[in-house]
């Protein structure tokens, strides 16, 4: 088995574990419930970044050269937390504190750089601007770290996203990578019905970004999207990842009831069967 194939298999297994962990955390949250659907849609993206792309070191979380991952769509918290657990920033036991009083793992992330949570998020549309500042600081210091900002497609309704999109290209931030989790659903229904963005690809390109469209659950394609040589120099990159909300659990897929919901023991059991090795 080649090195690449090994990596792909590793990332697939990692993503599957993350899905199982996210479901366990949702079950553990009990009546509070969790944003399980929008977390499942980003898990492959997070697995690829944390398991195969980003330079990070949980023993040295403040390492100045580390790649930065900013979860702008804070409701994807379970995707971030399970990735951080996979890479050693949190133990399984700590994950059990999800949504309990005084926890480090609240329903939407609260900044704790020492544990890999780079920013607080939850209010949508704010992450990309912060990412610009982080990327600018790296550029000024001639550091080689990348800054990844993950947003939802619905999140891109927010005007602040487009102020940032404009500025990132203007400042030629070639180490800033935005990722759109294009699962096609937002809180009130289909994105195309609630607020049709027509074409993310055309919009971001017209704002001066290099665009890459990819199947957001194809680990191999995601790996290529993040690592392939850039076609356009001196501009930021956006990876538009087509995803399925609730991906991996048949009764959750494309079902907005699972945007935020509680999970019964029976549902948990059924979901785990679908995610068995």
């Amino acid at each position: 088995m080649g090195e690449r194939e090994e990596l792909i298999n590793k990332l697939r297994a990692m993503a599957k574990r993350m899905r199982r962990t996210a479901l366990a955390m949702t079950l553990g949250a009990g009546p509070h419930g969790a944003h399980v659907g929008p977390s499942l849609s980003i898990i492959d993206i997070c697995a690829v970044l944390y398991g195969g792309v980003m330079q990070i070191d949980p023993r040295n979380p403040l390492w100045t050269e580390r790649d930065r991952f900013l979860l702008s769509k804070g409701h994807g918290a379970l995707g971030l937390y399970t990735a951080l657990a996979e890479t050693g920033f949190f133990t399984r036991e700590e994950l059990n504190t999800f949504e309990t009083p005084e926890t480090l793992l609240s329903g939407q992330p609260a900044m704790c750089v020492e544990r890999g949570i780079e920013i607080s998020s939850g209010s949508l549309g704010l992450g990309l601007s912060i990412g610009i500042g982080v990327a600018l600081a790296g550029k000024k210091a001639q550091r080689r770290y990348n800054t990844y900002v993950l947003m939802g497609d619905g999140e891109c309704n927010e005007g602040a996203v487009w102020e940032a999109a404009m500025a990132a290209a203007h400042f030629k931030l070639d180490r800033l990578i935005a990722i759109i989790d294009a699962n096609g659903l937002q809180s009130d229904g289909l994105c195309s019905t609630v607020m049709d963005m027509v074409s993310h690809e055309a919009k971001w390109r017209s704002f001066g970004w290099e665009t890459r469209c990819v199947d957001g659950h194809d680990v191999s394609a995601l790996l290529d999207a993040f690592t392939a040589t850039r076609k356009t120099p001196n501009c930021p990159l956006v990876v538009i990842a087509t995803t399925v909300k609730g991906r991996g659990v048949s009764f959750m897929e494309n079902n907005n009831e699972w945007h935020h919901n509680r999970l019964s023991q029976a549902q948990y059991g059924a979901a785990l069967q679908e995610l068995a090795d």
């Binding site: 704010l126 601007s129 912060i130 610009i132 600018l136 600081a137 000024k140 602040a160 203007h170």
Partner: protein, 336 residues
């Protein structure tokens, strides 16, 4: 730091608060390596033309996008920069309120927001450019320090202090050009520590920004009428110097707050919140702008219209001392 003396005080008065900020920033940034100054298409208005030329590597114009500016500043601060941002006070406080709340308040990132032209300094521009709720909004953000310097010297002091101060701060500049001078010699400026400028026994006046000078005028006027008024420069609205208020409550029969800001939630609100907790506090006269939008006009005209000159403040206090209520300014303005 630039020396505080009569000659510089005259210069800063002439430059106005924005020009003085630019001069102070230029001076302060020279020796500081980790400074970044951002503006939203207002570098000239912020007095930063020379700074932009002298320190292009420390300067960033983000275009007319205040929300993005606070976000970028937060990202830079997260990576270790002491980041200053400038725009009109009302735009900073309102257009980017949530970014300030989350990035400066919640995440406690080291960003200093310099709010230009708080109050009615923009005169003829009208209410879109007035900052009359900015202090109330900023004061409500948990963990945010809020400073309103009294004059040019205090702007210089504030900028100097912020070069080393760690943590999020909102600075509200007031006044236009040719601002009155409060300080022509050096003094001890500490964030969170009020400065008693004048002793008095009957009335305790607390003021910030441009109203510090007018309150000193008022106190002299009151003295001529046999009323002894203390004047305290509450340059920091948050954290509030509660000791200064406690002390005033112990000697004064009337607390007076004077601010170029709406009477809701600004300095008056801050002092009242403190005094009310004490129990048995003296009455308080809130001098500021009424709770409604007015018409535009030149700056001096507006100060006069809303009773914010020293003489008017004094007569307002005299009327209040002679009456049982404290609603004199509102009723007077509403009657116009």
């Amino acid at each position: 730091m630039l020396p505080i003396n009569a000659s510089n005080a005259r210069l800063w008065s002439m430059l106005g608060s924005r020009g003085t900020f630019g001069v102070a920033m230029l001076e302060a940034a020279g020796g500081a390596e980790n400074i970044m100054v951002l503006t939203a298409d207002l570098s000239v208005t912020s007095g930063l033309e020379r700074f932009r030329g002298a320190h292009p590597d420390k300067f960033l114009n983000v275009g007319i996008a205040e929300q993005n500016m606070i976000g970028i500043a937060a990202g830079l601060a997260k990576e270790g920069y002491n980041t200053f941002v400038t725009t009109f006070s009302n735009f900073a406080a309102m257009r980017s309120y949530e970014q300030i709340r989350l990035h400066l308040g919640y995440m406690r990132l080291n960003v200093k927001v310099i709010g230009l032209a708080g109050g009615m300094a923009m005169g003829h521009f009208g209410n879109t450019h007035y900052g009359i709720e900015d202090m109330a909004l900023m004061r409500a953000v948990p963990g945010l320090t809020v400073i309103a310097p009294a004059d040019g010297a205090e702007i210089v002091k504030t900028v100097d202090a912020l070069i080393t101060h760690q943590g999020p701060v909102f600075v509200r500049l007031t006044g236009a050009m040719n601002n009155p001078i409060v300080y022509a010699e050096d003094y001890n400026f500490t964030i969170g520590k009020a400065v008693r400028l004048r002793q008095g026994t009957d009335v305790a006046i607390f003021a910030c920004g441009t109203m510090v000078f007018e309150s000193l005028v008022a106190a002299r006027n009151l003295e001529a009428q046999g009323v002894s008024a203390s004047v305290t420069n509450m340059h920091t609205l948050k954290p509030l110097d509660t000791d200064a208020i406690e002390e005033a409550c112990s000697y004064a029969a009337l607390l007076v707050t004077v601010e170029e800001h709406g009477v809701i939630g600004g300095l008056g609100g801050a002092v009242a919140e403190c005094a009310a907790r004490r129990g048995g506090a003296p009455r308080q006269l809130f001098i500021g702008l009424p709770d409604r939008f007015g018409k535009s006009g030149d700056y001096k005209y507006l100060l006069q219209k809303y009773g914010l000159t020293g003489e008017q403040i004094a007569s307002n206090i005299m009327a209040t001392l002679g009456s049982r209520t404290c609603n004199v300014p509102e009723s007077r303005v509403m009657a116009e």
